[in-house]
Amino acid sequence: MVGWAVLPVSALAALAIGAVLILAFGANPITGYRALLNGAFGGSYALASTAQKATPLLLVAAGTCVAVRANVWNIGGEGQIVAGALASTATALALPGLPGWLLVPLVLVVAAAGGALWAGVAGVFKAYFNVNEILSTIMLNLVAVQVMNYLLSGPMVNRSQSFSVTGLIPQTRLLSSRSWLPTLVPGTQLNLGVLVALAVAAAVYVLLWHSGFGFRARAVGLSPEAAAYAGMSVRRTTVNAMLLSGAACGLAGAVLVFGSISHRMVTDGSLTGFTGNDGFNGIVVALFGGLNPAWSVVSAFLFGGLLVGGTAMQGATGVPTDLVTTIEGLVVVFVVSMDFLRTGARLRQEVTERGGDGDLPARARSRSLVLRLARARV
């Protein structure tokens, strides 16, 4: 299948350009990539770190699958992560005395609710006011980060930290150990969050392909007009898809706080200071996973490895971790660009079925050797 080949080809092409960039730093790409692979997948500690890093990515990716399948482009993962993290952190700070069996589920639920609420705003704006959700979610990202910076340096700041020249670090005090996500493998960072993320991915899979909501969401995603004609509420489906998507991203926020090493919510004042850009990285993961939550598990693990290994590569070769960001961007560019292999073939079929001359426009035909190859394989 054409669709399949796109992913490894995209990844290899991006890594090849990455190799050129490593060369530009005067380092050996083989040394660099070997350090990356070793840092990501070499040994149990590395694997656990990768799985840990993959956890929020998978949650955001699962949320992205729900939204995009319903044709809602939720680019607001960053803001929804922050909203979920703030809501759950505030809860844990307010109720430190609750027993762990109650507190952990509670913070997870509150985080999901916080993320859902933040995404729901954009969902309602799209469904009832026709506001482009890509724009509203991006603007809401900016708002969420500023609110977080305010709360973490003001009302929620840890006042008992030792005072430095630059002032207080924008972070909360250490959260009650009863709210921490339990460690699964002693001696590593691997915690309950991984299981939560896998459960969410499984739930999203079942929801999308084995539930009434999933059917409606996919119908609305494929053709809002047809779905409305069949009696489905496009507006309600849009809002619901956004709520679910936001809930998954909100959970990622809880994982970043209660599954972190520092066990507190901390930022550095920059846009990605708390999230580490996971809200965008998760979208890349979902795209690479074919907008399917099951494949997103694999994809999240690979990209988690890329991010963890990037740090190891920086240590070995001095190439900054920005290289990983660059490679991610290239992967997206290549995946969406090569998607035309599939759509090109489909369009050709459609034109044929409608009684056309069975050919794409002359320009499209002459343009691409790749397309001819694709046609031979379909």
Binding site: L142, L271, F280, V333
Partner: protein, 310 residues
């Protein structure tokens, strides 16, 4: 509050509001032309970042702001070709390909900075150019006519783009391609060529916007734009795809930003609440989108690739 309502403070605030508006305006004007032809380019922020770096690098090495701006715009044009190739030729899903360009720009700009510059040195700041005569007007002079040359260019481009879109044959072709590409195609207008031209123009403007932002700041840093490119795209919707509407939106954004900063420095907003107040421009933009979205129709083919006969 009384210390805000003085002649000197008000004029200084408006002057900096006009300056803050300039990069948003430049990027949004370019995006307007692209969207009018039916192409949604969400990669503006990434293009601004890479252009800002190339402008910084050249300005730092040569000492020439002008040369920096030219190279920044060229960077935008090259990325424009890439964007057009993806959106028009390969018919990629435009929302997500733009996110790809954004992430690429975010990573690559800082990577290049670390590799080729490393230590952040400032470039010479942009000198203000007084407009003869007008700059001596009371109040209006210091607000609008003692700016740097990039600000003048940004605002002069507003009537220029409006004239192009509404009063020239080429502009009408752009509108036709955006509203109904099949009809435009049937009368012999090349949809592909038109869209390539508008996208490359839009990205060159994004390059100019990134260069402007860099020269206003005087120094490059990671994620310098702070999502300014995304805000510019939002301002296109805000301005209902009209150059003067986009200018109004950019000025509103600039005014709110400048007032918040001024109030912060005057102590009207306590330092602790400054972050909260900084959300005002984004919140206002979202609310404006809610109010305006129902009233104006977007270009009919926006975001949709054109396939003849499909």
């Amino acid at each position: 509050m009384s210390q805000f309502f003085t002649y000197a403070v008000i004029t200084a605030t408006i002057a900096s509001a006009v300056q803050y508006a300039a990069p948003f305006l430049l990027a949004a004007l370019g995006e307007t032309v692209g969207q009018r032809s039916g192409v949604l380019n969400l990669g503006v922020d990434g293009i601004m970042l890479l252009s800002a770096f190339s402008c910084y690098f050249v300005a730092l090495r040569t000492g020439s702001d002008l040369l920096g701006v030219v190279v920044g715009m060229l960077t935008g044009a090259v990325l424009g070709l890439l964007t057009a190739f993806m959106s028009v030729t390969l018919r990629a899903q435009q929302g997500i390909s733009g996110i790809g360009v954004y992430i690429l720009g975010l990573g690559l700009s800082d990577l290049l900075f670390v590799r080729f510059v490393g230590t952040p040195l400032p470039v010479s700041s942009l000198p203000n150019v007084s407009v003869p005569g007008l700059s001596r007007l009371p109040a209006l002079g210091p607000m609008f006519f003692q700016q740097n040359w990039l600000v003048y260019i940004a605002f002069l481009l507003v009537p220029a783009v409006a004239f192009f879109l509404y009063r020239t044959t080429y502009g009408t072709r752009v509108l036709a391609v955006g509203e109904n590409p099949a009809a435009a195609d049937s009368v012999g207008i090349s949809v592909t060529r038109t869209r390539y031209a508008t996208v490359v123009f839009g990205c060159t403007m994004a390059g100019l916007a990134g260069s402007t932002l860099l020269l206003l700041d005087g120094i490059f840093q990671e994620n310098l734009t702070q999502s300014a490119g995304f805000i510019a795209v939002a301002l296109v919707y805000f301005g209902a795809w009209r150059p003067f509407g986009v200018m109004t939106g950019s000025l509103l954004y600039g005014v709110v930003t400048a007032v918040v900063l001024q109030w912060k420095s005057l102590g009207i907003i306590p330092t602790s609440a400054a972050d909260l107040a900084a959300t005002a421009p984004a919140v206002i933009t979202v609310l404006a989108l809610v109010v305006l979205a129902g009233r104006f129709k977007q270009p009919s083919s926006l975001g949709k690739a054109y396939v003849r006969g499909a």
